[in-house]
């Protein structure tokens, strides 16, 4: 290997590249890169862009299915929904920007995911936000919560895409490294699907939208692909990273959406790519690599926000609200006119040229940066070397040494005498303070909005063919389970998603994932990631669900301490005919409460509290051996529930009057939530103890019916377990001798828990 010059040695390390990665770059180019080329590699080979630590593991996930039109690797996954409509879905993380600058970090997370969706030709129709913060007991957490929520609210509402749900989790492991994930779904007429390849020598690369500034430089590398220094919430140590956070403008994005969809409607676009992480470096190299063409970019043509910007700054800036469109020279005037109507700037910054030729005589994508259209070549790099050829790491993996002791520390017996009434009050709490800040109704699609098991939308929107189908989306995660057993915990998280969409009457068709983990250079974290991917693979195969897109967020650590493994699963399902509202979680007096699904988990523990909300959040007991799932029974139960819900929509003649998934907090919390939503009490009998009341293994639903005999008959025919738990009515929630609460207390607690927790934080 040739000696590295001293200057580039200092530079490549500052850009986040290792010595061996620098050597790989020299081999790819067959020469030493100049500073600009090195800057391109620095962002494109970052963990965030290249998935270099996770890619060999991600390959194990199933990604194909009969309805999948586009799987992982494009800007979003796309499935065929029928009726001439395709649905695009994607999930992303914006964790580190949100930790440093919560409002802008969260806002630009929303902006970025919207561009991923309309890049595919789809109109973004809904956003969901799974959020994870530290315990709400200090002022910094309140600053993070309020900043993130206001960022999502300001950007999402203003840009005109409803936020229809998400998750809100508080746990000490996120104290210095909150997680802000964002999922977006959009829909398009199936024939309008566009991909991001640049083609056609002589075609023009047109930069649409905002000018390019010095914000967000190094966002993917310095910020997203390194851990935080500060521990215990002292993130001020990382404040110097703030310039790497982008700044968003939803009004610019709104006009950009309308302009791009209009361009696609008019057939004026050959290929299109959003500018997100790694900015123009990423957009130009990916389009050239996919199209196997040359791409000549005039760096001086790119509109700048301020004078004196260097080419490397222009190419790696993550300024928001920009898109790169490939258009024909003949169509340019029309493109410019349409953009002018929406007050969107459109600038020719490059052109498609002949491809390079590789050693085998095959055409390859080539990125050339020039000073003027025919000026000096500032950088020349095979596009695939940037976009696809980052080194793949098989990093060392090791099961955490402390895990055996953790698994042995089962809390189930120790918690047998805990006060169930106090536990229900501790766990109850509605997130309306958060979601009422989000427009969740735009487009007249929201049949079930935030706060339910899953969101349910009409499959409709401007420019779509008519359809009476419904679309259900759920986001799910359970770091409590995954901390104990990343494999089984992740599999159970997929199972939760299946159950949550079933509650709306939908059948799940695909999932997307956002894998939030710690530092991949820690062998324990790589073991968690690998186990989690294996668990997801097992569950996806068991339930017939392809993974059609995803995101991996690593280096979620601070002061050397990793977060608990937090795989987030977004589940997409469809309802064949959505004409009337499905049963909600609200019951009326005089109905019979039943548990649908197997009462006991299989394996050694029928009712285990390991990893449960009761054990972890109430009692602070994080150990134990996780339940074992019966995936066949779960699949059958979910199908049974989905069918019954769909049949019971709209009327009083259906077999189901109300339904709710049994999730965090188990049967006790599910019953409490149903009673609270109904304003009607319930008497539950025959629960065998605290463990059965609060255990969390998926595959169980609480439901009420006015025709028990008919429901039992249907369950018997389907081979699905069903047990009677009690009767609705009265003004109290009572669960044997375990829980006894008035409706008044339940409703007060549900409405005030979150507000009081955050108020206490600001007072401290």
């Amino acid at each position: 290997m040739a000696e590295r010059s001293e200057t580039s040695e200092a530079l490549h390390r500052a850009l986040g590249l290792t010595d061996s990665e620098f050597d790989d770059i020299v081999s790819a180019l067959d020469r030493e890169p100049n500073a600009l080329e090195l800057a391109l590699f620095g962002v494109m080979w970052s963990e965030h862009c290249s998935y270099k630590s996770s890619r060999i593991h991600l390959k194990r996930l199933p990604t194909t299915g009969p309805t999948v039109l586009v799987g992982p690797g494009e800007n979003a996954g796309v499935v065929d929904a029928g009726d001439g409509i395709a649905v695009a879905i994607r999930i992303e993380s914006h964790n580190h920007p949100s930790a440093i600058e919560p409002a802008q970090g969260a806002a630009t997370g929303v902006g970025g995911i919207l561009r991923d969706i309309f890049t595919m030709g789809a109109r973004p129709l809904a956003v969901m936000d799974p959020l994870f913060f530290g315990e709400p007991n200090d002022a910094r957490q309140r600053w993070l919560v309020e900043g993130v929520v206001s960022g999502i609210s300001n950007y999402g509402n203003s840009v005109g895409v409803p936020t229809i749900g998400g998750e809100l989790t508080f746990d000490r492991c996120y104290q210095s490294n909150p997680l802000v994930n964002v999922l977006c779904v959009g829909a398009l007429p199936v024939e309008r699907l566009v991909l991001s390849a640049a083609t056609g020598t002589g075609n023009l690369a047109v930069l649409l939208g905002s000018s390019t500034g010095r914000d967000g430089i190094g966002g993917v590398s310095v910020l997203a692909s390194a851990g935080f220094e500060g521990a215990d919430g002292a993130a001020t140590l990382d404040d110097d990273k703030r310039p790497s956070v982008q700044v968003g403008d939803p009004y610019e994005e709104k006009r950009l959406i309308e302009a791009c969809l209009a361009l696609l409607d008019e057939g004026l676009v050959v290929g299109i790519q959003d500018l997100g992480g790694a900015g123009l470096a990423c957009a130009t190299s990916e389009t050239a690599a996919k199209g196997r063409v040359g791409m000549d970019v005039d760096v001086t043509a790119i509109p700048r926000r301020e004078p004196g910007m260097e080419p490397w700054e222009v190419m790696t800036s993550e300024s928001q609200e920009r898109m790169l469109a490939i258009v024909t020279p003949a169509g340019l005037a029309q493109v410019e006119a349409l953009c002018a109507q929406w007050e969107v700037s459109a600038t020719v910054i490059g052109r498609v040229t002949d491809p390079g030729i590789d050693a085998n005589g095959e055409p390859i994508g080539l990125l050339r940066l020039r000073d003027g259209f025919d000026g000096e070549i500032l950088a020349e790099v095979p596009a695939a070397a940037l976009a696809d050829d980052a080194p793949l790491y098989e990093r060392p993996m090791a099961e955490p040494a402390s895990r055996a002791a953790l698994l042995d520390d089962d809390p189930t017996d120790a918690l047998a005498d805990i006060d169930g009434t106090a536990a229900v009050l501790a766990l109850l709490g509605d997130a309306h303070l958060v979601y009422q800040q989000y427009d969740h109704q735009l487009f007249l699609n929201t049949v079930i909005g935030p706060g339910a098991d899953a969101a349910l939308l009409r499959l409709a929107g401007p420019g779509l063919p008519a359809s009476s189908k419904g679309m259900a989306i759920s986001t799910d995660s359970n770091p409590r389970w995954c901390a104990l057993d990343p494999r089984a915990g992740t599999a159970a998280t997929v199972a939760e998603g299946l159950a949550n969409v079933a509650v709306t009457g939908a059948t799940a068709v695909a999932i997307v994932n956002c894998l939030n983990f710690g530092n991949p250079e820690h062998p324990e974290v790589m073991w968690q990631l690998s186990e989690s991917i294996d668990g997801m693979t097992e569950a996806c195969l068991a339930y017939g669900l392809p993974v059609i897109g995803g995101n991996v967020s690593l280096y979620n650590e601070s002061g050397g301490v990793d977060i608990d493994p937090t795989p987030v699963v977004g589940t997409l399902g469809f309802v064949e005919e959505l004409l009337e509202r499905p049963p909600s979680l609200a019951w009326e007096a005089g109905e019979t409460l039943v548990l649908v699904g197997e009462r006991e988990a299989i394996g050694a523990h029928a009712f285990s509290l390991a990893g449960s909300s009761l054990a972890v959040d109430v009692a602070g007991r994080r150990g134990g051996t996780l339940f074992v799932m019966d995936s066949d029974a779960h699949k059958a139960t979910c199908a049974f529930v989905a069918n019954l819900v769909a049949e019971s929509a709209g009327g009083s003649d259906g077999l189901l009057a109300s339904i709710h998934d049994v999730g965090s907090g188990g049967i006790a919390l599910a019953a409490a939530e149903m009673a609270t939503a109904s304003g009607v009490g319930v008497r539950v009998e025959g629960i065998q103890g605290i463990a059965e009341a609060f255990c969390e293994h998926p595959g169980r639903f609480l439901a009420t019916t006015r025709d028990l005999d008919a429901l039992v008959e249907r369950a018997n025919v389907a081979g699905v377990a069903l047990s009677v738990l009690g009767q609705t009515g009265g003004d109290d929630l009572s669960i044997d001798a375990l829980v006894s609460l008035s409706l008044e207390a339940l409703i007060y607690r549900s409405n005030h828990a979150l507000g009081e927790a955050l108020d206490a934080a600001s007072a401290s």
Binding site: Y251, E343, Q437, F443
Partner: protein, 225 residues
């Protein structure tokens, strides 16, 4: 007769498609009118829908009032044509001084998207002409700056002239006198913060918005513009 309704689109408007769907469902012929247009010829009624016209920069509605279409909107209203401003459209009408008063940030200083119960307080407007005083309607709100305010003289005038057309049963945002919607003296220009177009079917949870929108369409079909 089918009412031809123009739904004005400013850059940043986002409820225009919803307004068209809701009006068409009630038998109207609604179409979009871009803000750079200067004529509203051929329309029987005009809707300024919700959203964030011009990004709500400066203040909601403050820039939109200068959009080219606004001269035509004023002329249409001055001639007695029915005009409905929903949410951001209400803010635009106030900024354009087609309606009195102003909308300031919600008490509590957060955005609010939630169901509200409205009470019809006056039928002396195109939006409430076919409703009944005292009628309760379940219609959602979706705004940050929805707290209606005006000076005490204006408030007395609005009350005396029965120009407060809708009130909140439980005031969500601090609006003076629980005001959710008002009209001009002639009753043909109405602004309200809640979104009637979001309450048009039981599938969406309420169809009470149809009470207001069908009144507006009825007025549009009978107005002499």
């Amino acid at each position: 007769m089918t009412s031809r309704i123009g739904v004005v689109v400013f850059p940043g408007t986002n409820c225009e498609h919803d307004a068209v769907v809701a009006l068409d469902q009630l038998g109207a012929d609604a179409s979009l009118v871009f803000h750079t247009e200067t004529s509203l010829k051929g329309f029987d009624g005009i809707v300024l829908p919700g959203g964030f016209a011009h990004g709500d920069y400066v203040r909601p509605g403050a820039i939109a009032r200068f959009s080219p279409i606004m001269d035509a909107v004023s002329a249409f209203g001055n001639d007695g044509g029915p005009i409905l401003g929903i949410c951001n459209g209400f803010q635009v009408l106030c900024e354009a001084q087609l309606l009195p008063g102003a909308l300031q940030k919600n008490r509590g200083l957060t955005f609010l998207c939630k169901p509200t119960t409205l009470i019809v307080s006056s039928t002396r407007s195109v939006l409430t002409a076919t409703a009944t005083v005292g009628q309760e309607l379940s219609i959602p709100i979706n705004h940050f700056s929805g707290s209606y305010t005006c000076d005490s003289e204006t408030l007395s005038m609005l009350r005396d002239q029965e120009r407060i057309v809708l009130r909140y049963r439980e005031n969500p945002n601090g609006s003076i006198d629980d005001i959710a919607g008002i009209t001009n003296e002639a009753g043909n220009i109405v602004g309200l913060m809640p979104h009637p177009e979001r309450a048009i079917s039981s599938l969406l949870g309420s169809q009470d918005g149809n009470v207001l929108l069908s009144s507006f369409l009825h007025s549009s079909s009978t107005a002499q513009v």
